[in-house]
Amino acid sequence: MTFEGILNIPPYSLDRTKKETLLTQRLTELTRLHRANCPEYDAMLKSIGFDESKISNYSEIPFLPVRLFKELELRSVPKEEVVKTMTSSGTTGQAVSKIYLDRVTSSNQQKVLVKIVSSFTGSGRMPMLIIDCPSVIKNRAMFSARGAGILGFSIFGSDRQYALNDDMQLDIETVEKFLEKHSGERILLFGFTFMIWQHFYRELVRLRDETGKTFDLSNGILIHGGGWKKLVSEAVSQEQFKKCLTDVCGLHDVHDYYGMVEQTGSIYMQCECGHLHASIFSDVIIRDPYDFRVLQQGEKGIIQVVSTIPESYPGHSLLTEDEGILLGEDDCPCGRLGKYFTVTGRLQNAEIRGCSDTYAAKF
């Protein structure tokens, strides 16, 4: 099946059996493609005697640890075909992953993101308030994960406005004007979890308490991602985060997402029931941290992610440094098919990453 064919399937419409067939076929093809075009990847698979023609399920395809992209330059296309290099977020002094994208992979990332997100927001574009500062996307040669996230979501915005200035302060006048201009319309808000908490939510609370000024965002839909670590340490739970936003500005349509620069596009969106969902474009497999066997529903383990998108670098099957629990498959009350899960945190001794968390490490 071509990737165009996969793109025509609604993102949450395949049950376990159908999705397994699709993923096994596509991921086996990608394994073959990367072996043929990335010598380092082929060498790794040879060293363990792996033969992709003998597998019956995509869970048998080897996974690379995400940090390998920091140590090796892994590409499956010639250098001349790379149009964009994306880097992971990292705190100062950390090595960053480098992900090499060609035209095809870069465009497929955007197409998949559109399919997934518009199944939550509807296909129309909306006025968009970005809870970040404009300088994030200024360095165009090197894309940080934070810039890539903002840019990827920008396609959903008709009139786009940054809510923070380059000192990360809420630009009250701009936000007021923007909300006035679009009063009565549905508004998309996008940002990273910690920035929203620190520079948006807290500032709105301060404004309300000190000046009585409030903003009405009851028409808004907020999509946020990038990690919870810092908020967990401040004892802010997901439920509290949502409740606080509802209390201060009426915002109640709030969706977290889980995603990473190594598999841009195929993100995991949180549904109305608070569960992260795998679309048909990707999947999660929870593994035992000691022997890597596949764990059952309800057991906590390391999250492996597979994605049907990566053609220009061998990142279609990766072991993250995040821990999570599979909550169920095909039976979420929201009606979406596929696995749903929760991310419980980072492995101990793992590096801090995530757009929200690396930024928060400065506080």
Partner: protein, 80 residues
């Protein structure tokens, strides 16, 4: 300004290029037409023609010529 002039002008101003560079120009042929530049171009065209493009059309818009084809579609009604 004719529609073609408006269309060309969006490219020329957004990417800081000359009219001679337009024919055959493709997404990512020049440094300025990267993904950031692309969203800038779309915003400029939407302003110029007072339209709102679909996400699918924004993605398919991958060359100077393809863009004309997309804007000529019934829902945008731009005639060149």
């Amino acid at each position: 300004m004719t529609n073609l002039e408006k269309y060309n002008s969006a490219f020329i101003t957004t990417f800081e290029i000359t009219e001679e560079q337009l024919a055959g120009l493709k997404y990512q042929d020049i440094e300025a037409w990267d993904s950031v530049g692309h969203m800038g171009l779309i915003a400029a065209l939407e302003d110029a023609f007072d339209i709102m493009m679909d996400t699918d059309d924004i993605i398919d818009f991958n060359s100077y010529e393809k863009g004309k084809e997309i804007l000529s579609k019934e829902e945008y009604g731009v005639k060149f």
